[in-house]
């Protein structure tokens, strides 16, 4: 099959690292095709193999077995053919503190097509980065944005971003998510790893879960996501007792749990609107004080997927 522009293919990729008690398998063999186009998010607890997978696709970590390709170009040698087609923002926040922001962008975009530096500067200005200042004076978030500006500037078919919004405040995170959405709208394939369910939910059109180097079934992950969107938190004027919980279950709420006046329950998929309306309208319940809907944390999803360990 001929690969289209921006398609990443992974076939049986494996990597084993040497550990204190023999080998530690970071990535188990699995197959995956990403793109062309769209934003794919990889979620998983720490040590699940997300970063190793991204580095292997780029050729930064040589695979133990298996193959990867971008646009049909296989990963060979040191992966130069792949890195020419892929822009990358690493998860580790290490920078050259002695350089100014502009000099750092020049260094990061070296080897790319003409105009890349100008675009990187434009993006950095849009993000409000002080490019004349030395990078050692930048905050954690500013360093992250600098690396992102450099990774979003090159005109390449694929971008790989490892934890692109880690350490950013919510407004900057939203700005980055907008930039990613704009980039994806131009047809770029974006593969990112993240710990923020909200941003992944907002920008990604495909979500993959990894655990212990394995990819979890996508259908299972999709159904968990749908379920996460129906998680509801309701704070009542008085603490909830057993009768309140029974009453809520009678109205159709599932998996009801309480902590004083705070209730957590899942609305049924088919009738979630009607059930929520019925709960709010029911005058036999104590008066509602606060309500949030569809904001299950990533930890909650991890717990459902992986159990309590490895979160």
């Amino acid at each position: 099959m001929l690969a289209r522009s921006g398609q990443i293919r992974v076939e049986g990729l494996t990597r084993r690292f040497r550990g204190p008690q023999g080998g530690v398998v970071a990535v188990q063999p699995f197959d995956l095709t990403v793109g062309p186009g769209g934003v794919t998010g990889i979620l998983g607890p720490n040590g699940s193999g997300k970063s190793t997978l991204l580095r292997m696709i780029l050729g930064l970590v040589p695979p133990g077995a298996g193959a990867t390709s971008v646009d049909g170009m296989p990963l060979t040698g040191d992966g130069l053919t792949i890195r020419e087609r892929v822009a990358y923002a690493p998860g580790e926040l290490a920078v050259y503190g002695e350089l100014t922001g502009k000099a750092h962008l020049r260094w990061l975009t070296a080897g790319r097509r003409r105009g890349t530096l100008a675009r990187a500067i434009e993006l950095a200005d849009e993000l409000g980065l002080p490019l004349r200042r030395r990078v050692r004076g930048y905050s954690h978030g500013m360093k992250r944005q600098l690396l992102l500006a450099a990774a979003l500037a090159p005109q390449v078919p694929v971008r790989i971003l490892d934890e692109p919004t880690e350490g950013l405040d919510p407004s900057k995170r939203a700005q980055i998510v907008d930039l990613l959405a704009r980039d994806a709208a131009r047809g770029t394939t974006i593969l990112l790893s993240s710990h923020h369910l909200g941003e992944v939910d907002r920008v990604c059109d495909r979500i993959l879960f990894m655990r212990a180097g394995r990819l979890i079934d996508e259908e299972e992950a999709r159904s968990l996501f749908r379920r996460a969107r129906r998680v509801t938190r309701l704070t009542l004027a008085q603490p909830a007792d057993a009768t309140t919980i029974e009453h809520l279950e009678g109205l159709g709420a599932e998996e009801v749990s309480s902590d004083g006046p705070r209730l957590r329950f899942v609305l049924p998929e088919a009738t979630h609107r009607a059930t929520l309306a019925a709960i709010l309208a029911d005058e036999s319940l104590p008066a509602p004080q606060a309500l949030s809907f569809g904001d299950a944390s990533l930890e909650e999803i991890y717990r459902t997927l992986y159990g309590s360990e490895g979160i």
Binding site: L60, Y88, A94, V95
Partner: protein, 249 residues
């Protein structure tokens, strides 16, 4: 890179100052060379002084510039300039950024190697080039050609040291530890040069005063010494590349 340039400038200035001091000291040295030979505590030093006594200012200036300045300061510079190349990047966490750019690993490594190598050798040539000019202060004439040939020989020795340190940098992640170990080894090697029974095992025999005097006599490099040095440089670079090709960020 900028810090490396600053260190190179400092290394050049210190070498030049050492050379100025040596040139200005020559008249006193020449006058007291008899006494100095008698005072020399060990045979190796006695031999050097004797050679200067017989041959005059040429062995004096080559021993000062190449054997003393190049072999001590140059070796330290070679080690310090090499260890940061890869291990320094790994230590500060920027190796991943370096490797993720759209350049081949061979190019990344070659650029780093060459830049450090130039920083390591250029001061030797620059300071040696000022010797003929300084000769007028002491009414001595120095031919530039053998001085440049001596600089080539000294640079090959320094590049062999630099190559070994560079290889250690490609396999290690702690530049301070690598530098300390290599500086200890080089100090040990320099020390055993002066011990008669083991002097033949000193690597500093490869950049010995006799080699520089021979260059003056032959007006040519001695390839029986320079050949192995070139081979060591090529070998160390090849080993560095093979290690760097598999290096994880």
């Amino acid at each position: 890179m900028r810090s490396l340039l600053l260190y190179t400038l400092l290394y050049t200035i210190v070498m030049e100052l050492m050379l100025v001091a040596a040139v200005l000291y020559w008249p006193d040295f020449e006058q007291n060379v008899d006494a100095l030979r008698l005072l020399a505590p060990i045979k190796s030093v006695k031999d050097i002084v004797q050679e200067i006594e017989q041959e005059g200012v040429i062995p004096y200036i080559t021993s000062q510039q190449f054997f003393k300045g190049g072999n001590t300061l140059g070796t330290a510079a070679a080690v310090l300039f090499a260890v940061g190349a890869v291990a320094g990047e790994a230590h500060r966490g920027t190796l991943e950024l370096l490797l993720a750019r759209p350049y081949s690993r061979l190019r990344i490594l070659s650029e780093r190697w060459l830049f450090g190598a130039v920083c390591c050798c250029l001061p030797v040539f620059l300071t040696s080039a000022t010797i003929p000019w300084m000769g007028s202060w002491i009414d001595e004439d120095f031919d530039i050609v053998p001085l440049m040939l001596c600089s080539v020989h000294e640079s090959l020795f320094l590049l062999a040291v630099y190559g070994a340190a560079f290889f250690c940098s490609t396999i290690g992640s702690n530049p301070t530890r690598i530098a300390l170990v290599l500086l200890f080894v080089s100090t040990f090697q320099f020390a055993i040069y002066f011990i008669e029974v083991v002097t033949k095992w000193s690597l500093y025999r490869l950049a010995d005063l006799k080699d520089f005097t021979k260059i003056y006599e032959d007006y040519a490099l001695d390839w029986t010494v320079c050949g192995p040095l070139v081979a060591a440089i090529v070998l160390s670079f090849t080993a560095s590349y093979l290690a760097f090709r598999r290096r994880l960020p």
